[in-house]
């Protein structure tokens, strides 16, 4: 009861995490290399493109020191294709970007946010984990860097509606022990749907608690009749309930 916040992350926290994503900018001014806690930033030389974290890009954009190059998936044609996919397949989400081939055995594989899923050379046919937050923030701060920001904004809204409706319908297939496919769901969507989905699962589990209890009792009886090796372990488990 210490924090009055619900479990999970709040939208500002999710957006904060999203600001670690790398985006591509075209600087307008020189900037020396910076040594930051999160790693060094290369020097910015005006005509050359550079990949910087989103927070830095937004800062430079606001000071009119750089232009942001929107990631390729954040443009009307790919978004329309993804929206078509979403409406065509009613029960799955559009797949997340493909992971790069597994590296050789002595290096660790990269995972987001260290994969450049939002830079100018990212894949154009899939929504990365932070698609909604990143899209909203870029559209807000750098709408003039988009070719057609209005239709991008409209498509993002449409995608969000379709996918939230799917998340809501998904609970109908849940039961106390089941699950449903959430591959490809983004960070902000998870944050929004978490309270509802966990609430439904908790409610179902409460209703089916007596059935689980019976099953557990039956299992225990069978185990005690069959072999007594696990009886101690099981007793411990019962006390914790």
């Amino acid at each position: 009861m210490a924090l009055p916040l619900p479990p999970g992350l709040t939208p500002p926290e999710i957006a904060f995490l999203c600001e670690m994503e790398l985006v591509t900018i075209i600087p307008r001014q020189r900037l020396e290399a910076l040594e930051l806690l999160g790693g060094p930033l290369k020097p910015l030389v005006p005509p050359q493109r550079a990949s910087v974290p989103l927070w830095h890009a937004l800062l430079l954009k606001r000071q009119r020191r750089a232009n942001i190059v929107p990631p390729p998936w954040l443009s009307p044609e790919p978004l329309t294709a993804i929206l078509d996919h979403e409406t065509k397949y009613g029960d799955t989400f559009s797949p997340p970007p493909r992971l790069p081939p597994a590296p050789s055995s002595n290096t660790l594989p990269f995972a987001p946010p260290f994969l450049p899923s939002s830079t100018a050379d990212a894949a154009a046919d899939a929504l990365p984990y932070h698609w909604l937050e990143l899209g909203e923030m870029l559209l807000e701060a750098a709408a003039d860097d988009f070719e057609d920001s209005d239709s991008v904004r409209k498509l993002l809204r449409g995608l969000r509606e379709v996918r939230m409706a799917k998340l809501r319908q998904g609970v109908e297939v849940l039961d106390a022990a089941g699950g449903f496919e959430m591959t490809g769901v983004g960070g902000m969507e998870l944050g929004e749907a978490r309270a509802f989905i966990t609430g439904v699962i908790d409610g179902l589990r409460k209703i089916a608690a007596s059935r689980e209890q019976q099953k557990r009792d039956r299992d225990r009886e069978e185990r005690e009749n069959g072999y007594s090796g696990t009886a101690d372990y099981d007793d411990d488990e019962m006390e914790m309930q």
Binding site: V171, E172, E192, A193, F196, I207, A208, S210
Partner: protein, 179 residues
């Protein structure tokens, strides 16, 4: 599972269930409104769940229990049939303010496989409608009012939780614009 101070658990246990006395109890007639008389054998009274449960489960010396419990009217076959037909139109709040909690408590006492299925399906079907209402940016108005009034306490919490998360995402988006 639930805490000692859980208000919802306390209120669930305070709901009345029909009980039939198996023995004649001297001086207990006030439960029936019979101020000075005895509680006759076989008489039926509505007792709070916690009291009825305790009396039904306690074994007195002569091995027969004091009362027998019946499922409350909120979980009568009539109600379950109505829920099977269409979960959305039943006013659960009028039946019992803590309908699902009451159901879970009753299921601890009785073995009713079918009731578990009916309650789970009801909860799922109604949860989908609740989510739609909670994400409605104009608020739960219009044709939803009747349904929203019939939500039980669990469902109200669910509605509040999903409404709050939708609201905080919307607030974040408007914050972006004001920066």
């Amino acid at each position: 599972m639930s805490s000692y101070y859980d208000v919802d658990a306390i209120l669930t246990d305070a709901q009345k269930v029909p009980c039939a006395f198996e023995l004649t109890v001297p001086g207990l007639g006030f439960l029936e409104g019979n101020m000075s008389g005895d509680m006759k054998q076989g008489s039926k009274v509505e007792l709070p769940l916690w009291l009825g449960e305790m009396l039904a489960l306690s074994q007195s010396l002569n091995t027969s229990s004091l009362v027998t419990l019946d499922p409350p009217s909120a979980l009568a076959p009539r109600v379950l049939n109505a829920l099977k037909a269409d979960p959305r139109t039943v006013d659960l709040r009028a039946l019992a303010p803590h309908f699902y909690n009451l159901g879970a408590r009753i299921l601890e006492l009785f073995e009713e496989e079918e009731m578990i299925d009916v309650l789970s399906d009801t909860f799922k079907a109604r949860a989908a409608v609740i989510a739609d209402q909670a994400h409605n940016p104009r608020g739960a108005l219009g044709e939803g009012v009747e349904f929203m009034r019939g939500l039980d306490e669990n469902e109200r919490q669910l509605f509040r939780a999903s409404h709050d998360s939708a609201k905080s995402v919307r607030a974040w988006m408007t914050d972006l614009k004001n920066k």
